[in-house]
Symmetry: C2
Subunit: 289 residues, 2 copies
Amino acid sequence: MTGPTPVRIDDPADARLDDVRDLNHSDSRPDLPGGKGLVIAEGPLVCERLLASRFPARCLVGFPDRLAGFLADHPGLPEDLPVYEVTRETLREVAGFDMHRGLLAAADRAPEPGLEEALDGARTVVVLEGVGDHENIGAIFRNAAGMGVDAVIFGNGCADPLYRRSVRVSMGHVLRTPFVHLGGTHTTWQRRLEELRSAGFRLVSLTPDPGAVVLPEALADAAGDAYERVALLVGAEGPGLTEHAMRATDVRARIPMAPGTDSLNVATSAAVAFYERDRSLGFPGVRRG
Amino acid sequence: MTGPTPVRIDDPADARLDDVRDLNHSDSRPDLPGGKGLVIAEGPLVCERLLASRFPARCLVGFPDRLAGFLADHPGLPEDLPVYEVTRETLREVAGFDMHRGLLAAADRAPEPGLEEALDGARTVVVLEGVGDHENIGAIFRNAAGMGVDAVIFGNGCADPLYRRSVRVSMGHVLRTPFVHLGGTHTTWQRRLEELRSAGFRLVSLTPDPGAVVLPEALADAAGDAYERVALLVGAEGPGLTEHAMRATDVRARIPMAPGTDSLNVATSAAVAFYERDRSLGFPGVRRG
């Protein structure tokens, strides 16, 4: 069998474990204090997705049994991938807390695709504004991947999709689904939505506003046909999309809510919108039973 | 203005604060070690819902400013409701952690309605099996309330909906939406599904099984009309519903997923199913813009 050879490390101070040291901070963005900007994957499924991703892997670290199982299941890993075998106690001391999953991988960040590249071949994209919670970002990627959304576009004020918690909650889909940050300030990023419109995307704002059209109506043209390309805009829980952002879109759509209730969680709203979009297309690409 | 009069308490040992003492444990079920079985609401919105609910309120506790604002907004509260004004420091010491929302209410548990009572007038109910996570339980109640689900039915192995975290994540909807525990063991509770069928409910299992029919098809009859009464069965993330439970239902339905992805989070799946059910009914009871 080919593949990397695990190296046993028992000294928590060993510099080869620096990538997984003080894990509560090591995944912070490089521009933040103490941030190394690494991408950290936890558990076999997400490690597998990281090692298959465009993010350059730096190392794989795990308990002896977890590591042996993973290496046996993944015989094609590059021989020069550093693989470190550690005990639970050693990893706890290095990582700063008990990492019961027992398997970690670290990678470098990688440049984002350009917007044009991310849109190439895409039928459905989601555009996020002000989604500042890492778990919601992760959940949105998970839901997007599950329901056929091709790319995630970041407007202003969103949490980092490569933060460890985002990676975990996304089940590694932040490493697979292309994403692009539009840049600009909170009043200028929307200008780049024009590029989506030029590419043929119907721009749909999601809002709890009772004056908005119901979601299914927003996703089909007057003849009842689904738009060929759709960009779904989703804003932060609470404030929602800014008026500025909504004005830059073609239509405002709402998920009908029972009277006297609250709006849905942002990742849940997004999931419902992704579902309705997939439904409007007749659930393409989905194996029929 | 009528209403209760706040009593200032500065001694963290004061027994009148026992309801909010050691909050990480006080909401455990009465049958668990240290469990007092209280219902705890946090923050003004959930406190409001608790005080308007069928659960007998025991007290309201808050920082001076939060309490004053809440009492001004709720002039109709009973005069005999114990209301205690505490500093942030006092509450931290009593509760066991920093409670930055600054407003808490405690109530006693109350008997559940019977199944027949919970089903009375209901068009859509959800039946849960093995949903052991408090946040998922809370999120399911929130999503149910938002999308017109009338009752939550508990099969075997679910987390406590009245646990503090469930209450919080549900935004207080566990205090408003009727719920019933069917009782029985993991192989006997399903017999009571027969009572739903007798009441005219179409029993629909949610499953990731690619052999299941797609969700919209499961919710309409051969003529394309939505079933009058529907019970949506949802199982734990990972294992899903037991075969035993699914066999007791009329149809197995799936949310179509993109190839190579994972199933959705259980509360997200439920939200999509609630949405599709509401959609199949033409979004009744929803104000049109």
